[in-house]
Symmetry: C2
Subunit: 179 residues, 2 copies
């Protein structure tokens, strides 16, 4: 059985700076109709930056949608047509001042496939060099480095609660701390 939902009609609700919202009327596999609320997002990258002492570099920032400061790996939205690894390099440098000699693709994933199109590409950056740091003018960040083992524990203590960061830390901890 095909599970596909075919689009009958689309209604644009909002076209924003970061997200857009539309409602699709769809034909379900059994022929009935339903509606899907869909948040369109340009996609993003996240960077698991690990230094020679097995510390992970993270940024603390206030996240208005959840009304709290969060500790996250460096990350950012893709510009239109931008190569994902170039975006990863740009965001790491903008947010932390770091550059890296070594870049590895970890995986890509959909953050919330139930309501949003966002795809997120995760990279690991190693052999780091510290330079200047220049966050966007409406981004206010604190940069921290944390031992990887401590970051791993923080996931289960509710201290690191950002999805992309959790995936990246789980990956790095298994790869680097546990072999």
């Amino acid at each position: 059985m095909s599970l596909e939902e075919k689009t009958i009609s689309t209604k644009e609700i909002f076209n924003g700076r970061i997200v857009s919202l539309r409602i699709d009327e769809v034909s379900l596999p059994d022929g009935n109709k339903s509606y899907r609320e869909i948040v369109e997002h340009p996609g993003a990258v996240g960077v698991v930056a690990i230094d020679d002492e097995n510390c992970i570099w993270m940024v603390k920032q206030f996240r208005k949608p959840v009304e709290k400061e969060m500790l996250e790996i460096p990350a950012g939205k893709l510009d239109a047509g931008e190569d994902t690894v170039e975006c990863a390099k740009r965001e790491l440098e903008e947010e932390t001042g770091l550059t890296a000699n070594n870049w590895d693709e970890i995986l890509y994933y959909y953050t919330t496939p139930g309501f949003s199109s966002e795809i997120l590409y995760l990279y690991m950056a190693t052999e780091l060099t510290q330079g200047e740091y220049n966050p966007d003018k409406d981004e206010f960040l604190e940069v921290l480095k944390i031992p990887l083992e401590e970051a791993y524990s923080a996931i289960f203590e509710g201290k690191i609660t950002d999805g992309k960061s959790i995936i990246g830390i789980q990956y790095a901890y298994k790869k680097l701390e546990r072999g």
Copy 2:
């Protein structure tokens, strides 16, 4: 320095069945103003259901926002005021027909704190019993069980690309396969 962004005004754009959208005008830490596009979501649960043969139970469904069939752990939205573990039990049974004797909280996380308020509670369910299965009338699912080791590899092969599933599988693989 406080990183907090204080709300100056809020404009509701859309109030939907699953998500709502609003724009907050905010005061930044340096006193300047900016806008935040915020998707409100009621929150959700995901269930890592592992049977006695170390297989993880998953569901395949079509996800309109990404226009593809995806393999995901059983999951669903919280009803208003619903207890998270009760929601986890309900969703597991609705989507797969399974009940579980043993429920453990793994962690909670924010799926996309940059633009959405969604929080997701992840549970592990073990000591499973198979019963009837009754998906919602506009949900069309295929239920599968997959050896945990195979699911873990599938993350890095681009075959499992759902965020909550990746977090849950990494957790279960470390806990059950690697000790």
